[in-house]
């Protein structure tokens, strides 16, 4: 990568959301803000390789974007106040004092709360956050959501129109409203991370989720669940290099080469976790992730502690999937029979019917109880039901190991 393209990649990652957020604050026009940020990046692609990278790439981009916005607004003949505020905006950027910096960063936090407003559909919140705050191209978002470009464009446009028409505020809420809204913002970040972390997901989304979680933690200190979520992300992400074998197949925790885990990230996760408390659902999940991350080998995993955390989590989130994972933990801590008993509780009322991981868990517990043939059948059934190719391969190969002749 050349200097210019490296500088461009870094600057666009760091600046896009900031520029969009600042322009939205001043103009109130989402489309204008995005277009101008995009134009600034396009101009950088053209200029930087030829003229060299400017001393302050972020400031350069902000100034170009600001000038575009001024041009457009001047042509549209809007009030003078907006133009005056735009002029101030670029001045803050070109001389980057610490105070101006914080104002601009705050814009991005405002933008996240607007994008994640509960008056928007959940899928639209995730997509809008990716597009507006992270600057992910619409085509990439469309691919991750398995829809066409034009469908995603329409969905984003509809969300932005709703924001404008319904008067969704551009503000970080306070008091009771902050307490009510923060879980929704974290849920969007969690979904974003999951989209990146899924077997066949878009890995860059996981990085974006971590960047956003770090930013929210910095800008909104004293919120334990934000730290809990960030710690959870960091622990999971620390295993990214060890999650797959040479052929790209998924490896379960017990099969991963732990020397390939990112131990600096684990240390950071523990540090973040110390701010997360032990009460919120994300904090508890992060505690579980920490138990795994700090076990020197699979055999040394403290399953009794993990089972205890799951007991706590199931009180806060009594969902079928949490119950399923609790069955796994108890299966390791207290033997496969205990796990199978909790599994049938989790399945009560058909709650996990058609969910391949439930079959895979039953298969694993059955194998550990010694019934290899039945376990292989269950793994194959789980594979047949699974819709991700990587997941399917992993399940089939478990079946083959247990009962090689039995395809």
């Amino acid at each position: 990568m050349s200097d210019a393209s490296r500088a461009l990649a870094t600057a666009s990652q760091e600046s896009f959301g900031r520029i969009v957020a600042a322009l939205i604050r001043v103009t109130g026009d989402w489309t204008l803000a995005e277009d101008c940020a995009q134009d600034a990046l396009a101009l950088a692609v053209e200029r930087w390789p030829r003229d060299g990278v400017p001393a302050n790439p972020g400031g350069w981009l902000m100034t170009v974007a600001r000038n575009r916005a001024v041009d457009v607004l001047r042509r549209a003949d809007v009030e003078r106040r907006k133009l005056r505020e735009l002029a101030l905006l670029a001045d803050q950027e070109t001389v980057p004092p610490a105070t101006g910096e914080e104002d601009v960063v705050d814009d991005r936090l405002r933008l996240i709360f607007t994008c994640c407003h509960p008056a928007l559909a959940l899928e639209a919140r995730v997509a809008l956050t990716l597009r507006t705050v992270c600057g992910v191209p619409t085509a990439d978002i469309a691919r991750a959501f398995l829809v066409t470009d034009s469908t995603m464009t329409r969905r984003l446009t509809r969300a932005k129109t709703k924001i404008a028409q319904a008067g969704v505020p551009y503000r970080v809420p306070t008091g009771r409203t902050l307490v009510e809204r923060l879980p929704g913002v974290l849920a969007v970040l969690y979904l974003l991370f999951t989209r990146g972390y899924d077997a066949d997901g878009e890995p860059a989304f996981a990085d974006e989720a971590i960047r956003l979680a770090r930013m929210v933690e910095r800008l909104l200190p004293g919120q334990p669940e934000v730290s809990g979520l960030l710690a959870l992300f960091v622990f999971q992400h620390s295993r990214r290099a060890a999650r797959r074998d040479a052929d790209g197949n998924l490896l379960t925790l017990d099969r991963q080469d732990r020397s390939r885990w990112d131990h600096a990230a684990v240390a950071e996760g523990l540090d973040v976790l110390s701010r997360a408390g032990q009460d919120g659902p994300y904090a508890v999940q992060a505690q579980i992730a920490a138990c795994h991350a700090t076990a020197r080998s699979s055999a040394e995993t403290d399953w009794t502690a993990i089972a205890g955390w799951y007991d706590r989590l199931v009180e806060r989130q009594p969902t079928p999937v949490v119950r399923l994972n609790r069955a796994v933990a108890h299966g390791y801590a207290y033997g496969p029979a205990a796990g199978l008993a909790l599994l049938s509780e989790a399945r009560a009322g058909g709650a996990l019917d058609g969910y391949p991981p439930a079959l895979a868990v039953e298969a694993e517990l059955t194998a550990r109880r010694g019934d290899r043939t039945r376990a292989a059948h269950l793994f194959r059934a789980a594979a047949a039901m699974s819709d991700g190719p990587t997941e399917r391969r992993a399940l089939s190969s478990r079946a083959d190991e247990l009962a090689p002749g039995l395809a």
Partner: protein
Amino acid sequence: MKYLMFVCTDTEPDTDPTAAPDIEKWVAERDANGQRLMGDRLAPPTAATTVRVRGGELLLSDGPFAETTEVIVGFDLLECADLDEAIDVARSHPMAYAGRIELRPFFDPNA
């Protein structure tokens, strides 16, 4: 911004009229701080008359234009800075507990 607040009944079984705040208090407070410009209760849908003109001819029919189980029983006209303020007004109305409320912003050609 102006919002029209539709106050509706709800057939879902999870409504909770016992927890609902007092309507007189709500009206008095929201009038006093300028968030409620006007509002009233409506007669039941059986009193509705639907009016259409087709091909120059007046067509009248008895009842609302759509038969639904949830009905609009009242409305309030709100003046609020943004949606969050309007939500705050709506959530403290008794029918948010005993029914449902729909917030519709006035049409803005610039939005």
